[in-house]
């Protein structure tokens, strides 16, 4: 049986401009979560839940870390919750990044943009634990928006790109991805234009992209969150079949 759980807020802190990290306690989710999955959070007095990726877990402590940007009423309300509050959540939802066929020593490229970075951190930790060679390219709008740089550096070679050049390289993540490098697998999460550019640039590599879409149920029952695929089935559901899809499966 799937569960609706309550996650207790343990800590809330601002990591970057408008960017909040929450640590929440819930053993079940901490135990079950796979990199790439998300929780679907109820926000008091809002009809729809908000999907937020799992950025990190600590099984020993039974905690789950979420990182999000304040973009509207829901994320603002989540940012203002006081420690001790219980958040009603569904999860872990979605499929997660496929890892089982990767071998220790494989080279993996991680490409993240903005709030697409958090699920990639959970992923990078898992890859690192399995002994893979990680290279991360993380794009942000500006210096004030950068987060998790040192956290990624501990796991592999990490390059920061900012759109305005106020930190790291200037431009887009695609400017610094070198498609000549040996890559066994790439994983990307970020805004749609970034995913499309990465998909195009790395079309000869095997990769997986994680998508966002406005959701209703978050569990596959309402067909709100679809994405066109080039398979017979046509649309697939991001919340249930995704949020991670093979780069060559989706039509962007």
């Amino acid at each position: 049986m799937k569960k609706k759980v309550r996650m207790k807020l343990i800590s809330s802190k601002k990591l970057a401009k408008d960017t909040i990290e929450l640590v929440l306690e819930n053993e079940y989710i901490s135990e079950e979560a796979q990199p790439g999955q998300f929780v679907h959070l109820a926000v008091p007095n809002h009809t729809l839940r908000r999907p937020i990726s799992i950025a990190e877990i600590n099984k020993a402590a039974g905690t789950v870390t979420l990182l999000f940007k304040i973009v509207g009423e829901g994320t603002k309300a989540l940012a203002n919750l006081s420690v001790g509050t219980e958040i009603d959540a569904l999860g872990p939802n979605g499929n997660g990044f496929p890892l089982s066929d990767l071998q220790a020593g494989d080279s993996v490229l991680i490409v993240g943009g903005g709030v697409g970075v958090p699920p990639l951190y959970f992923l990078a930790r898992a890859l690192h634990d399995k002994g893979m060679k990680i290279r991360a390219v993380l794009g942000f709008q500006e210096k004030e928006a950068v987060f998790y740089e040192t956290a990624f550096q501990e796991l592999g070679e990490t390059q920061i790109v900012t759109n305005d050049g106020s930190y790291g390289a200037q431009g887009f993540v695609t400017n610094v991805i070198n498609e000549q490098n040996p890559i066994h697998r790439y994983f990307a999460c970020g805004p749609l234009p970034m995913l499309a550019a990465v998909q195009h640039q790395l079309k000869n590599k095997t990769g997986y992209l994680s998508f966002e879409e406005r959701m209703g149920c978050g569990i596959g029952a309402c067909y709100a969150c679809v994405i066109p695929t080039n398979e017979n089935a046509g649309y697939k559901k991001i919340c249930q079949d995704g949020p991670v899809f093979a780069a060559n499966e989706v039509v962007l």
Partner: protein
């Protein structure tokens, strides 16, 4: 003991609670949260003659105490539904209502014909909030003549009781209900969504890709209650009420207004356990307000 049993044409239900069409897919996802056997009935997502892809995204938006949706009838087509979805639901032993949609009367007929081949369906619900492509896209459900005709034609071929789902986007809901009754429908379900729109301030365009979407959720409850109250006074068909139900108290309000049973849509997204939770809470709420059965409460607001 509070008696929750409700018997309507084709539907012998141990309680008056069912998920609303389109908010429950074909039950698989919710079956991972609870035993669907607890439900009074289930209403499946709309079936059309052929597979449909539906609308581009975004398909949903949040509104004050509600939401907009424009899914666009994405479904695998009636044959696939009869083949793979109905059998899945049948294992839970609750009456299955098939929601029937189409762009032409002929498509409605086709869907009804294919559904006739299923042994596990208890009733059909005609979703007439669809544009009639042969009549310049006017919705079947906003024109009494068109609604009457599609009802008669489906009624003539379906071997199941036919419930017709009324659209609230009309000047005169009673006139619509009367047409449906004249057409020989076995029951009414109401209300479908109200047409609405939200504009994205950043893009300065309608947020939903389809531009308009259907408004549902608690925001629309007062409209649903008013329409059910009006229809109850005018026609004698049974009514399955819906529109904004989130609690057992809401269910009682619908019963008092004249609904014989109710369906729950949007609230499933907020709380996937809402149906079993309401089923569990309903006896206490009925008792608190002096009722010993669901039947006793039905239409009570009319007996002043």
């Amino acid at each position: 003991m509070i008696d929750l049993q409700v018997d309507l044409p084709g539907l012998s239900m141990k309680n008056p609670i069912m998920p609303a069409s389109g908010c429950f897919s074909f039950g698989r996802e919710y079956s991972e949260f609870y035993d669907l056997g607890q439900l009074g009935a289930v209403i499946m997502k709309a079936a059309t003659g052929e597979q449909r892809q539906g609308n581009p995204t975004p398909r949903v938006a949040e509104t004050a105490s509600g939401m907009l949706n424009a899914i666009g009838l994405q479904n695998p087509g009636v044959e696939k539904i009869v083949e793979t979805e109905v059998p899945f639901l049948a294992q839970f032993n609750v009456p299955i209502i098939a929601n029937v949609a189409g762009s032409t009367i002929e498509e409605y007929e086709k869907v009804a014909t294919v559904l006739n081949t299923s042994t596990d369906i208890a009733a059909i619900e005609l979703n007439i909030s669809c544009p009639n492509v042969k009549e310049g896209g006017i919705q079947f459900g906003t024109n009494p003549q068109m609604a009457k005709e599609v009802t008669q034609r489906v009624k003539a071929i379906s071997r199941f009781p036919v419930y017709v789902k009324l659209s609230p986007n009309v000047t005169n809901i009673v006139e619509m209900a009367e047409s449906i009754e004249e057409a020989g429908a076995d029951g009414i379900t109401m209300i479908n969504t109200l047409t609405g729109m939200q504009i994205n301030l950043s893009t300065q365009q309608p947020l939903i890709a389809n531009k308009t979407g259907g408004l549902s959720g608690p925001a629309v409850k007062p409209i649903a209650i008013r329409m059910i109250y009006e229809v109850r006074q005018a026609v004698s068909l049974p009514i399955i009420g819906m529109g904004g139900i989130a609690t057992a108290e809401d269910v009682l309000e619908f019963l008092l207004a004249g609904a014989d049973a109710v369906a729950i849509g949007t609230e499933n997204f907020h709380n996937p356990l809402v149906c079993p939770e309401i089923i569990a809470a309903l006896p206490e709420v009925l008792k608190q307000y002096g009722f010993s059965s669901v039947k006793e409460a039905v239409g009570k607001a009319h007996s002043a």
